[in-house]
């Protein structure tokens, strides 16, 4: 029942952040190092910025990024524990401190975790499958099976899966991402072990 899918371009990013401003600064520095020109990056919240960096590292190996752009058959499956907390908190704080009438639309729009899928879709012109899972007492077995389910029931040829976690912007910030491919025969097979490695937070 569980078809094999091979993982490629395993990518990990790990940062340590003192506070939101520190995280923002680090993410801008990392962006500038990519030498990619994508001004929309500056509008994104930290969660999306981190995902963008991971995606570029993951798919940009061998300058391959354009090869993946414009596909309908690449799905995205992202996950974390805290959803969009890094934007939820500032939005909630404005409501508390200044009242609802001056809530910021550009903060509010990022108070959904699936905006990560949206931003990656815009960047890569991907029209395909997209999903955001909230994971906690991680069942890596469940996550492992879920990936197989998507390959069995959707038309995706490839699936970009990522654990992207920035919490409230302080402490350990991490992203792990890889591309699963239904058809290839080289690389590492998708397994419960790999699923565990992807979603298990180093923050205990």
């Amino acid at each position: 029942m569980n078809k094999c899918c091979y993982i490629h371009h395993w990518t990990e990013i790990s940062l340590s952040s003192k506070d939101n401003k520190d995280l923002e600064d680090q993410l801008i520095i990392a962006y500038k190092k990519t030498s990619i020109n994508y001004p929309k990056y500056y509008k994104m919240n930290s969660l999306c910025k981190l995902a963008w960096l991971a995606l570029n590292r993951c798919l940009g190996i061998n300058d391959d990024l354009d090869h993946y752009k414009g596909s309908d058959d690449i799905g995205t499956l992202f996950c974390n524990n805290s959803s969009s907390l890094v934007s939820d908190l500032p939005h909630a704080q404005v409501l508390n401190q200044k009242g609802g009438d001056v809530a910021s639309p550009s903060v509010f729009v990022y108070t959904l975790p699936n905006i990560v899928n949206g931003e990656m879709a815009i960047y890569m012109k991907w029209h395909g499958y997209n999903e955001f899972l909230i994971i906690h007492e991680q069942s890596s077995t469940q996550f492992y099976n879920h990936v197989h389910l998507l390959f069995e029931t959707t038309s995706i040829d490839q699936l970009l899966i990522g654990y992207v976690e920035v919490g409230n912007g302080t402490g350990l910030i991490e992203a792990r991402m890889c591309l699963l491919d239904r058809n290839s025969v080289d690389g590492t097979m998708w397994s419960e072990e790999v699923a565990k490695r992807l979603i298990l937070s180093s923050n205990k």
Partner: protein
């Protein structure tokens, strides 16, 4: 020529809209702010509406009302100044 008020407003706008990567000197205060000019979008338009309410006590009910004002940075700044008199 940029007055102090226009300059100050420009700075505030850069902060609000997360366009810090653009050098303020490169921002043409007479250029159209949406589309090809400064490249702002619909969320930015809403953000400017909130900013005008928050900082200058000027209220718009929806982006349509603001269309004739939101043409260039200088135009918005001038509008604010006239409202405040």
């Amino acid at each position: 020529m940029e007055t102090d008020f226009v300059e100050d407003f420009k700075q505030k706008l850069i902060e609000r809209l997360n366009i810090k990567h653009i050098d303020p000197k490169d921002i043409d205060i007479d250029a159209p702010i949406f589309g090809d000019g400064l490249g702002l979008d619909s969320i930015d338009a809403l953000e400017i509406i909130v900013m005008l309410d928050d900082e200058y006590n000027i209220k718009f009910n929806n982006p349509d009302e603001a269309k004739h004002v939101f043409t260039s940075i200088r135009n918005i700044a001038n509008y604010i100044e006239t409202q405040q008199k």
